[in-house]
Each structure stands twice: as C-alpha cells, then as structure tokens.
Amino acid sequence: MRKYYLLLLFVSIYSCTVFANNHSPKNNPNLPQANAGLQLPAGFTAITVAEGVGRARHIAISPQGTIFYKSSRLVNGKGIFQLIDKNGDGIADSVFGFGNYIGTGIAIKNGYLYASSDEEVFRYKLDAKGNVINPSQPEKIITGLINRHQHESKSIALDNAGNLYVNIGAYSNSCQVNDRTLHSPGRKPCPVLDSAGGIWQFKADKLNQTYGNGIHYAMGLRNVVGLDWNNQTNTLFVMQHGRDQLHDNWPEYFDEKSSAELPAECMYELHKGDNCGWPYIYYDPMQHKKMIAPEFGGDGKQSTTDYNNPVIAFPAHLAPNALMFYTGNQFPEKYKNGAFIAFHGSWNRAPLPQQGYYVVFVPFKNGKPTGKWEIFANGFSGKDVIESTRQADHRPCGLAQAPDGSLYVTDDVKGTIYKISYKK
C-alpha cells in the first residue's frame, strides 16, 4: 500500500511540475508577462498601458499628462488617438480618435499638439487640461510636401525659438538611375535633393507654409524618422536610416555579410546648412570613415573627408525610428540629458538574422555622446532570433517622456503602448 502512496505522490508532483511549466507566463500568452515581456535594467519596470488600436508610430505627452499617438493606419477613419484613463489607474480604458489622416509625426509645444500626415503638418490648440479643443478643425501649418511612397513619413520636432523641423525622406535608396537595381549608376547631382533627403525648417505658428516659405536646413540625409531638439546644446539631433542593398546591387564589392554590417545607422548633430552626404557616401562603422558609395565610383575602400561626421554610429539596418533626450528626474542620474533611441528592427540583413527591435540608451556629457551605448529595453519581438521581419510580435517606434519622468514606448505592429518606470 505504501508503494502506491509513493507512486501517487510522485505522479502528483510530476503533474504539478508539468502543469506549472505549461501554464507559466512565458508559455501562456493569455497571462500577463512580467514587465510586459520586456527585459530592463535593475530597478526598472514596464507595463502595457494600451494596445490594439492602430499602428502606433510617434507619441507625445502634454505637461498635464494627456497622451496622444499617431497611427500609420486609420481606425474607424481616425489617425490620432488620445489615451483615456477615467479611473486614474494609469491604464487606458479607451482611446479617443480624431484626425482623418495617417502619418508618423506628433509633438506638443507651447499649448499646441502638432501632427503630420505624409504630406502636411497640422496643429490643434490644447486646453488647460491638455485636451484638444477642436479635434475636427486643426490649423494647417505646412502643406505640399513630397510623398513618393518611399520614406514618406514626415517626422517633426520643435525648438524653443518658434521653429518646426520636418524630415522629408528621399524617395530612393541611393539615387540610382533605376532605384534598387543591379549596377544602376548614381545620378550626380542627385535630383532628389532639391525637395527631399533632408530637414526643412518652418515657422511653428504660420499657416499654409510650403517649400518656398521654409528653410532647407540640412541636406544629404536619406531618411530621418527619429529626431529631437537638444535643449542643452540648443541644436537638432537626428538619426538617419542608412542605405540598403550594397550586396544586391554591387555584389562584386560587398558580400552578404559585409552588406549586413554596412553602413552604420548614424546620429548627427545638425546646424543650418549642414550636408551629411547621402547619396554620395555611406558611413563604415568598422573603419570609422565616410566611404564613397558604389553608385558614385566607390569600391568599398575609397573614403572621403567631405560632409558631416556622425556624433555616434550604430550597427547597420537597425532602423532608428525615434530619438528622445531624457530630461526627467525619475530615472537615475546617468540618464539625465542622455538619448534614448527606439530601433524598429532590421530587414536588410537577410540572409543573416535580423537585429534591433529594442530601445537603446546613449549617455551624453556636455552635449556629446560619451561613447558606450547600451540596450535599455529588449524583448519587444518576443523571439530569440528573427529571420524574417514579420516574426517580431512588437516593434518599438516612438518615445515620449511623461511629466513624472517615466518613459513611454509605442509599437506599430499591434498598437501597444508601454510605460517604463524606475523605483529605487
């Protein structure tokens, strides 16, 4: 009889173990995961505050704490969403949609919410509580920006002198005669650069501005999705998406591995009139040099000293979709005035595994990166290895700082909004 009890005990323990394994949060997607599935430095926690509405691109939070994000897909005809939290528990109960256009850019400055479509920039006056006064009648600030469906998003940032900066991405990979085509030569001068492939400066409060009213602030930037004004240096910082397809188009100079590792994703500090060199050059992060692009006579070995240098370079193809300088007091001292970057995650590293899908932190001192960047939040993709971009469950795309100093991160796969906090 005793044997039977032992056997029963053994079976029970075994069953419990199996049961526990099968129902641990890691294996059961229906149960909430610790830190919303993210890996964070010690002391940080994350929660999901909203999900499932639209493809959340950039996000903006008012001084009163109202939270708005821009969607690249309309939901019930709306493309901007405000999180509504009636019971004040920090989790959105619902969203309020307005703005009948898709887009990426959104920002708040001096009592206005600014939002971009892929051709225009609008603004909405906010009331004393940080809510939009007239969601159906925004003021049109900028119009007629070029959208040729490649690098079409119009990211925005504002300075403290009444100016608004807009990225107008190049509608081309490397300004070839035939885009992305084997051995197609580059066009010099590149005709894209007169109206795209750079940053334009406009007035933040003037209606119906277009190219003629704006200042061509910086050129030679292929596509910038993440940009932010740095209040310490009083300058604009941008993250460029580097070019693709070195191996596909120039296999005699680049094998699949070097094509996956080249070129760097670069951060630039911009001043009026700067030229960062696209499409004529790309940045090699191993050699720390600006290389002549193969479309313009380069062979992977020729470098140049022309054009701006990046202030810091990151691995290739990670797709930096948001840049944000942290000015809050909640996070430990080392984060103050440093930069967070949301890397959307790569596609152009295939056939090698994809990389990115994380938020990094770059410490800054006296307005310069101090060198070592680190992965701050990882695990968005929900996978150990991503071979094909669509395998990522979530992809970080936007960043915003709340009045209490916590960090919000958007995901444009499922419309998830994460909140990351620190507690000593």
Binding site: S72, H149, Q150, H151, E152, N173, N178, D179, R180, T181, L182, S184, Q245, H247, D248, W347, N348, A350, P351, E387, S388, T389, R390, Q391, V413
Partner: protein, 137 residues
C-alpha cells in the same frame, strides 16, 4: 482479352511515366527556382516569403503570386513602382526590374514561389515568360 489487358496496363504505365516525368520536371524547376530566389529575391521578400511589413510585400498567401500568371511575370520583368494596395496593404519600396534573368530562371523562380510558403498554384512555363517578355511594358 489478354491483349486488351496488356494494352491497358501499357497505357497506364506510360501515363504514370509521363506524369512522373512531369512531376520530376516540376521538382527540378522548383529546386532551380529556390536558388534564384535565394540569390535575387530573399533579401527583400525574406526567407519565409513573408516580406517586410509596410515596405516589401509578402509572397506567402499573396493573391498577386498565386493569381494571374501574366501579371506576376510582368512584375518580375518590369519591377514595380506603383503605389497600389496588395491584399489591402500598401508597401513603400520600389522593386527593381529583373529582366536580366533568363526566361527559364523567371519560370523556375515563379514556379518555386507559387508552390512554397504555403502557396499552391500551377507552374509557370518558359513559353509563358517569353510571351510576356515579348509584350511592351
């Protein structure tokens, strides 16, 4: 009677031979097509034919891939720069023309993608590629 049986069996055997010969040809075409895919298509359309969300369209379960053969042959030959919805999604990157591939390479790679990544559709022949190539864009 015996003669009839022998004739019947012979016809059956020949039919099986022709069918299996065709099947072998299809398998060979798919195998060659996979090599073309890995060299020319994979970097944008990915190892699983999944494409890149919002950038490069998927080939897996794509109505453009398993649908009208003339249309998909023309896309390989001429590339694609139009902003059109493919199965209700828009994709931003331009596709380069691949008219430098031979008729056989295009037939092979399309036969491969039409019968991979969960797709099941008829083969594409060299003759069908020739017809589309001879037409003006």
């Amino acid at each position: 009677m015996i003669k009839k049986i022998v004739t019947g069996v012979s016809i059956l055997a020949m039919a099986i031979m022709v069918l299996s010969f065709n099947q072998n040809q299809v398998s060979a075409s798919i195998a060659r097509g996979k090599q073309v895919y890995n060299k020319v298509c994979l970097s944008c359309h990915m190892i699983d034919g999944g494409g890149v969300p919002n950038i490069n369209p998927p080939l897996a379960q794509s109505s453009y891939v398993v649908g009208d053969k003339k249309r998909i042959i023309a896309i390989v030959l001429n590339g694609m720069t139009d902003r059109i919805a493919i199965d209700d999604e828009y994709y931003s990157n331009n596709m380069a023309p691949h008219s430098d591939l031979t008729d056989e390479e295009i037939a092979d790679v399309l036969t491969y993608v039409r019968n991979s990544f969960g797709n099941k559709a008829s083969v594409v022949t060299v003759a069908e590629v020739k017809v589309v190539r001879s037409m003006k864009k």
